[in-house]
């Protein structure tokens, strides 16, 4: 049995998102023989560019050109998908800020099961699919099972499937704009406000001392600042520290913050949720300091210290001053 699998292709003004090349491999994991169809929404030249790029990876590309999709509005795209997707479709969407907006409601409108934030496909037996997810910020994994006989919506965590870089396809671009219908939404896009630049540019730093929830209190940030000063680096942080307003948003590393590429990254009291780790690029030397030896950060770190960071940081800072 061969399923038709659809991959929602994100692009930013015509440039494909990294997820675009990953979804095809997720699809192949579900069904090696499936014809995987790329779904590309947008308008004008940017859309054409994205479709041509997608056609290098996907044998079939469905193009949906609508003037009001210059910026992707999930509230418009969802009903269009319902209009064009055949019954029984498997629909893959990246689990990012757009996918989170689109996919849960899409599954309801298609009346099919939904598996969010999938990090692996364990097995497919007939219509039964067993996927792998994480819970508790990656502290535990789970197998989840459902029946996809009538179709399914799955969001795939970015970065968990290898990208298909082969560019071996010369896919056919099919214009589905008319079938998508004319829809209206009660949510209208206005603009994107770019993040403000902060006092320190963490994206340019070679040495980052990055603090997370484990730092405990605002006044303890100073301990990290002292270490950073001794090392000649700067302080960055994970999301909870920004939410608590202990540090400015411009210091946040992760998908909703900055992508950094230091030589050395010292994660202090950071558990290592994927949204954070995804912001660390360039393969730095990673040191993790955390009381919980099972924290996911130890899986990505080169060196680990299982200590309370509040006690350990002053000791480390002293040693740095002594030994450098």
């Amino acid at each position: 049995m061969s399923k038709e699998i659809f991959a929602y292709i994100e692009h930013h003004d015509g440039v494909l998102d990294d997820s675009a090349l990953e979804l095809i491999n997720a699809a192949k994991k579900i069904d090696e023989s499936a014809n995987v169809v790329a779904l590309v929404f947008g308008t004008g030249d940017n859309l054409n560019k994205a479709c041509e790029e997608a056609a290098k990876t996907y044998n079939t590309v469905w193009k949906i050109d609508k003037a009001d999709l210059a910026y992707p509005n999930a509230e418009l795209i969802r009903p269009m998908l319902v209009n064009i997707l055949p019954k029984g479709s498997v629909c893959l969407v990246p689990h990012d800020t757009f996918g989170i907006d689109l996919a849960p409601g899409l599954s309801v409108k298609m009346d099919v099961p939904y598996i969010p934030d999938v990090v692996g496909i364990d097995k497919v037996e007939g219509d039964k699919i067993v996927a792998i997810r994480q819970e508790f910020s990656g502290q535990v994994h789970t197998h989840v099972e459902t029946d996809m006989a009538n179709g399914i919506v799955i969001t795939i965590r970015p970065g968990t499937f290898e990208p298909d870089e082969s560019k071996g396809a010369s896919g056919e671009i099919v214009d589905k704009s008319a079938d998508a219908g004319d829809v209206e939404a009660k949510r209208k896009f206005i603009e994107v406000k770019e993040a403000e630049a902060g006092d320190v540019d963490i994206t340019q730093a070679d040495i980052l001392v990055s603090v997370g929830r484990g730092i405990g209190e605002e006044e303890n940030i100073e301990l990290a600042e002292e270490l950073a000063e001794a090392l000649g680096g700067v302080v960055s942080c994970s999301r909870p520290v920004v939410d608590a307003k202990w540090l400015d948003h411009s210091r946040q590393v992760g998908t909703s913050g900055k992508t950094v590429k230091p030589k050395v990254y010292i994660a202090v009291g950071i558990s290592g949720a994927f949204q954070h780790v995804a912001g660390i690029k360039g393969n730095p030397f990673i040191v993790a300091i955390n009381t919980n030896p099972k924290a996911p950060i130890f899986q990505v770190a080169d060196v680990g210290v299982v200590e309370d960071c509040i006690e350990f940081l002053p000791v480390l800072t002293e040693k740095v001053k002594e030994m450098k």
Partner: protein
């Protein structure tokens, strides 16, 4: 404005190391410290701030067992006016869609202009808000980190998107929004505040009160187990007393260009 906020009682991520029980059927729940899901707390704070500006009421609803009552009281101590507790054993086994269906039934019993959920909870699915909106045929926005009231029918909202950028839209009421952390600073709730609402009656509802059958909330997606995958080697853990560990680490940092 009549506002409904959907909240969940979860193991507190700041207080717990999550471990799996011996047969992998569940996490070890015996010694867990529970609290209200962090995202939901921001949603309740936002609802209270809106009520303080334009009037109306804030109702908090949860799907959970007897213990879930405590998170409703906590949120009422923050300033929510009413609580609704959906407590039905059948729902313990349900999935995100089942929870959304139960919440839909609650929404339809009220007259709400705005329905808020946390952007996600302990299972990281980020699904219930979007499903609820779709079931209700209401407009939806996820990961909302800014709300401004334009008029009786319209909100201006910001969504947190990649790179710390913010997507600004207008959305018609009634609508469903999932709230991202950092949108506000949730107020502190003291013991005294909780004591004040200790005696308030919170109505409990079962599936039959919501007009739902067991079949309707039977899970489509089933969690089979919990497991810790075989990982790579992971980090080399430095051993010794704190001084020794610090010394070893400084040597390594020197070698890796971590000291300028």
């Amino acid at each position: 404005m009549e506002i409904l906020v959907c909240v969940k009682r979860v193991p507190d991520p700041a207080e717990n190391e999550i471990e799996i029980n011996s047969d992998g059927t569940d996490i070890e729940r015996d010694d867990l410290v529970y609290s209200v899901n962090e995202w939901d707390n921001y949603a309740v704070e936002e609802a209270i701030q809106i009520k303080d500006k334009v009037g109306g009421s804030v109702t908090v609803v949860t799907v959970g067992d007897e213990e879930a009552d405590e998170v409703l009281r906590r949120e009422m101590a923050m300033g929510a006016d009413k609580g609704i507790h959906i407590n039905d054993e059948t729902l313990e086994e349900t999935d995100g869609l089942g929870v959304a269906k139960a919440l839909k039934a609650v929404v339809e019993k009220g007259n709400y202009d705005l329905i808020l959920t946390g952007a996600q909870a302990d299972d990281g699915a980020a699904q219930v808000g979007g499903m609820l909106a779709a079931l209700l045929d209401l407009p939806y926005a996820s990961l909302v980190n800014y709300i401004e009231i334009i008029d009786d029918n319209t909100l201006k909202i910001g969504r947190e998107i990649e790179g710390g950028n913010q997507e600004i839209s207008e959305i018609k009421l009634p609508c469903v929004l999932s709230i991202q952390t950092g949108i506000n600073e949730p107020r502190y709730v003291g013991i005294r505040g909780i004591r004040k609402v200790a005696g308030v009656e919170i109505p409990e509802m079962e599936l039959s009160d919501l007009g739902l059958s067991e079949d309707e909330v039977a899970p489509r997606v089933k969690r089979l187990d919990y497991f810790i995958p075989e990982m790579g080697e992971g980090a080399e853990i430095l051993e010794g007393d704190m001084e020794e560990v610090a010394e070893k680490l400084v040597e390594l940092l020197k070698a890796k260009g971590g000291i300028k």
